[in-house]
Structure formats: C-alpha cells, structure tokens
C-alpha cells in the first residue's frame, strides 16, 4: 500500500518540478519588481518630502497590517469589478510585487537612516547634487545594512508565493494539493512539497546569515 503510493508519487514527480518552476518564476518576477519598487519607495521615503512620505507610510502600514491572502483576494476579485481583468499568474505577480515592495521600502529606508548624518552633510558641502549624494555616498554605505534583511525578505517572498496557489496558479503547493486528492498520503505528498521549498529557501537563509555575520565583523573596524 505504502510502497505503491511512493511509486505513484515518483511518477508524479515531473509535475512537482513543473510546479517548482512556476514557484520560481512567480517569485523571481516579483522579486525583481518588488526590489525596484521597494528601493524607489524607500529612497523617496528617506528624501523627506512630507506628503509622499506619509502616503508611503500609510501604504506600508496597510500591507503590513493585513494578511497577504486578503491582499491576493482584493487584487484577484476586486480589480475585475473596476474593469481590470488579470490572469491568475499576473494577479499573483502583481500582489507579490506590491507586498514585497512595502517590506523592502522599510528595509531600504532603515538602511539609509542608519548612515550617519555627517556623511550627507559632507557630501552636501562637497557640492554634490541630491542624486549624486544618494548614488555615490549614501546608498553604497546603506547597502551593508540593507543586504542581509533584503535576502531574508526574498526567503519570505518565496514562502509567501505559496499563497497564490489559492487563486489557481499551479505552483508546488497547488501541485501538492492536486496530488493529495489522488494519493491520500498527506505526510508524503506535503513532505515532498516542503522538501522542494527547503531546497530553494535554505541556501538563501544561510546566505542571509553569512551576510549578517560579515557585516557585524566589519563593523568595529569600519566607519
């Protein structure tokens, strides 16, 4: 009995790999989108334009205060009512991008705020424009603070991408959900699903930890 299920599961393995590819595609696209959007938002938030800052603050609070599942439902079910029809895949990428951007905005803002204010003043005194100050003075230093939590955020993004399976994106979680209807061995099926996520996430977690350690080691001798 048990062995026959295992055999069936092995036969279904290519579907799991397809699902994994979908997970990687959805999270990869939103990772790029979320990083770009998040960096832009974080820099704007740090630039002290009051109105933009409060709008971004409200946006970040909304994204952090509501479950991602509710955000996915809002984008997938409510946008069509307003005339914007998105396929499940596009809705998934859009919601993940907006979600990740909010968290990355906070990470970038925090990183920029951690750069000593003397740096900004010195750059100003050297006659650099605002863009130059950001590009050559602030961001390169802020990156050290930003990088470890940023990689940690990518791990969260990949894990949260499992939620988009509920609107019909055939990622690993959804493949597992389909498979468990035919192979009633929940532990085995979702054990495999977990293993596939683990294979993607664990190296990234290790990378994030290593980056953090490296940053800490550089701190006392650095600035």
């Amino acid at each position: 009995m048990w062995l026959s299920y295992l055999e069936k599961l092995l036969q279904a393995f290519p579907f799991f790999l397809k699902g994994l590819w979908m997970t990687v595609a959805v999270s990869g696209l939103s990772l790029v989108g979320g990083t770009l959007l998040g960096f832009a938002a974080g820099i704007v938030r740090a630039s002290r334009v009051r109105i933009l800052g409060s709008i971004l603050f409200a946006y970040v609070d909304f994204m952090r205060g509501t479950p991602f599942l509710v955000q996915v439902f809002i984008i997938f079910f409510i946008l069509p009512e307003w005339g914007l029809h998105l396929s499940a895949f596009k809705a998934a990428v859009l919601s993940l991008t907006l979600y990740a951007a909010a968290y990355i905005c906070e990470i970038v803002y925090g990183g920029i705020a951690a750069v000593p204010s003397g740096q900004m003043e010195a750059a100003k005194a050297s006659g650099l424009t605002w863009v130059q100050r950001m590009r050559y003075v602030i961001l390169p230093q802020a990156m050290k603070t930003i990088l470890p939590p940023l990689v940690g955020q990518y791990v969260l993004l990949i894990k949260d991408s499992s939620v988009v399976s509920v609107i019909g994106v055939t990622d690993v979680t959804r493949v597992g959900w389909f498979t468990v209807q035919r192979i009633p061995e929940g532990l085995m099926v979702f054990g495999l699903v977990g293993l596939l996520y683990f294979a993607v996430c664990y190296p990234l977690i290790r990378l994030s930890n290593a980056l953090e350690k490296k940053m800490r080691a550089e701190e006392p001798g650095g600035l």
Partner: protein, 222 residues
C-alpha cells in the same frame, strides 16, 4: 467606486464579521500561547549542552523557517488523518500555527537569553543558585523584558497568518469575507471590511508594542 460600496449589505453581514473577528482573535491567542510553549522548549533544546537535543531543536527550527506555512498547514491537515489522528479543522489549524510560530519564537527567546550578560549568570552561580533558579530569577525576567517587542511583532505575524486557516475551512475573519463574496458576489464589501478589521488588530498591537518599548527605556536607562 465608493458609491458602489453597499453599506446596507455590510450592515446585514456585520454580526458575521464580528464573529469572524472574535474567532481570529481567540485562535491567534491560543496559538500564541502554544507558540510560546513550543518556542521555550525549542530554545531550551537549542542552547542545551547536549548535542543531540541541540541538533533536534535546530532541525525543527530550520525546517519550519524554510518551508511555507501553507504547506505546513496542508501537511498536518492531509497528513494527520493518515496517521490516525482525526482532529477538527480548527485544532489542526491551531497546531500548525503554534508549531510554525514556535520556531520563530525560539529564535527571539534565544536572542533574549543570550543578551543577559555572562557576569550575571556567574554571579548567580557564585551565590549557589541552581540552574533552574538562575533561569527563573536572573535570566528569564531580564530576557522577557527584552523579548516583548519582537514577540509582539511575531504576534502580529501570527494574527495575519491565521488568515490561511480559512483555506482549510476554519471560520474566521477572512472566511467571513469569502462568505459575503460567494453569497452576494460582493468582493469589495467583503475583503475591504476584512482588511479594515485586520488593521484594527494590527494598530492595537502596534500601539501596545510602542508603549512597551517606551516603558522599557524608562526601566533600563541605557
């Protein structure tokens, strides 16, 4: 778009939403207690001197942290019956949430315990306090104060994560939004109301966390 927002239907469904909010709150509260218990046990294992215990706790923490909560919920929901455990959905959900959050709690508590300086533990040893006494009277009271803000952060995550239980047909806040969507086909009314109610819980917890942090600075001048 706002004129299309049907407040009358909302009024009809308000009791349902409040019931959902209450379910979300108590499910999160019970899971929080479970997560604290799991977290303390896992943290104790992680920092113990026995390599076997430390490895087991480490494996648990890493396994939870590198897999999605939804996969863990399905793992228990579809997996427990094959082992012969038939639990009601909400119990499976609470178990999954507790185990998931417990792994993150363990790391938070560990950071708190390690933040208590070595000299204090040695002083406790010099007084002839046993391991349990040192933990009870020296380490934990200080570690707890330090860990309250990140623990509250984790509580916020827990409340939001409990939304996933709606997918294994546990009745809670998100489920209420799904019900109004399927019965009246009004997703905007359903999910925006859901979002606003989640936001109230979020702001309440956030305010409490800010208040506590101010208090903490007051107690322990840097």
């Amino acid at each position: 778009m706002l004129e299309a927002f049907n407040f009358r239907v909302l009024a009809d469904y308000l009791p349902l939403f409040l019931k959902g909010l209450w379910a979300t709150v108590w499910i999160s509260a019970v899971s929080l207690v479970g997560a604290l218990a799991a977290g303390i046990v896992a943290c104790g294992g992680r920092i113990s001197r026995f390599p076997f215990l430390s490895r087991c706790a480490g494996a648990y923490i890493e396994a939870i942290r590198s897999t999605p909560l939804l996969a863990q919920i399905y793992f228990l929901y579809f997996g427990l019956p094959t082992l012969g455990f038939r639990l009601p959905e909400y119990q499976t959900g609470i178990l999954a949430l507790s185990l998931n959050s417990g792994a993150y709690m363990a790391e938070i508590i560990r950071a708190g315990v390690l933040s208590v300086s070595r000299g204090q533990i040695e002083a406790g040893m010099a007084f002839g306090l046993s391991y349990l006494q040192r933990m009870r009277y020296i380490v934990l009271p200080q570690a707890l104060g330090m860990t309250i803000p990140p623990l509250l952060g984790q509580a916020i995550v827990l409340v939001k994560d409990s939304a996933l239980l709606s997918l294994i047909s546990v009745f809670e806040l998100t489920r209420a939004g799904q019900i109004i969507t399927s019965e009246r086909f009004m997703p905007a009314e359903g999910f925006f109301t859901t979002a606003v109610l989640y936001l109230t819980v979020y702001y309440a917890l956030k305010a409490f966390s800010t208040w506590w942090q101010k208090r903490l600075i007051y107690i322990q001048p840097a």
